[in-house]
Amino acid sequence: MSAQFETDFWKDEKRRKIWDDIVPGEPRKTIPYLLTLEAIHKYCESVGDRHPLYYDEAYAKASPYGGLIAPPSIHILLMFSCTPIDDWMRSPGTINAGQSWSYNIPARPGDTITLQARALDKFMKKDRLFVVHDNVFFNQHGQVICSGRGQTIRPM
């Protein structure tokens, strides 16, 4: 997956919206993403999580979840997977100032995930430029997986 993912966030920097350009309420361009078991495992390993609901198919099948799932915090990966290279979340120096997420149903390996996202607000505080993010992830059945709000401090 990451083979085709551009990891140089400086490239395309000029194409990205800066604080001045961001229009609160305007939908962000997003892209559907096929969530693989491999991507789930790569994420799990990065937070040291080896829960059998994410790794052991027999265990997961026998559980109330009926099969392998992704951990709730998989939206951390989905934010970057479902946004294009010119999205302003990739702007070097973007600082995460806090997040809140609500979880409905788990994402599963093989799901095609879509994102509806926008900047909901932008403001200045203590000489810094803030944007409020508003995000909802869906699976291929149109079910909400999770929804979240975040604030970032924009690079100056």
Binding site: S2, Y43, S46, D49, P64, I76, P92, G98, N104, I105
Partner: protein, 164 residues
């Protein structure tokens, strides 16, 4: 009581008290774990990769070298909650966090939680948990609040049901 009530989930909810501790595992942060989080999350922001860039100044803030992703805190807190909830049939429903201080390679950070409130609603049972992460010097580097559910029906059998 609901016919489908899950006895162990009910017992877990009833045992909750204000002050019940939620245990978390220490996590040793290295340049390699930060790099692994870049790969796992696809967040390749130079804040987490490029020491030269991080020697510059960011408005009022200067970091002096790479820092851990703030969302690593989020992932570790979330993992603490699911480790606690899955065995008793509980569900991690919400997590709100903010970061208080940057985390650097060489730090060891430990998440923890403490139940502060519980209530039943018409259709379910809930608890609020204060969560925080502290480093090896006892400094709080992230804090927040979680909302967890102890469903009347078995977790996974209702809202987590597959429709396909």
């Amino acid at each position: 009581m609901n016919q489908t009530a899950n006895a162990h989930t009910t017992a877990a909810f009833e045992a909750l008290k204000e002050g019940t501790e939620v245990p978390g595992q220490p996590f040793a942060v290295t340049r390699e774990t930060i790099r692994a989080f870049c790969e796992g999350s696809l967040d390749f922001n130079p804040l987490h990769l490029d020491d030269d860039y991080m020697k510059g100044s960011f408005g009022k803030t200067s970091f002096g070298g790479i820092i851990m992703h703030g969302m690593s805190n989020f992932g570790l807190l979330s993992r603490m909650l699911t480790d606690w909830l899955y065995p008793v049939g509980g569900v991690h429903r919400r997590l709100e966090t903010r970061w208080l201080a940057p985390v650097r390679p060489g730090d060891t950070i430990t998440p923890g939680g403490r139940v502060k409130y519980k209530r039943s609603t018409e259709k379910s049972r809930w608890a609020l948990v204060d969560v925080a992460i502290t480093n090896q010097r006892g400094e709080k580097i992230a804090q927040g609040e979680a909302m967890v559910e102890f469903p009347l029906e078995t977790a996974g059998s209702t809202r987590t049901k597959e429709t396909a």
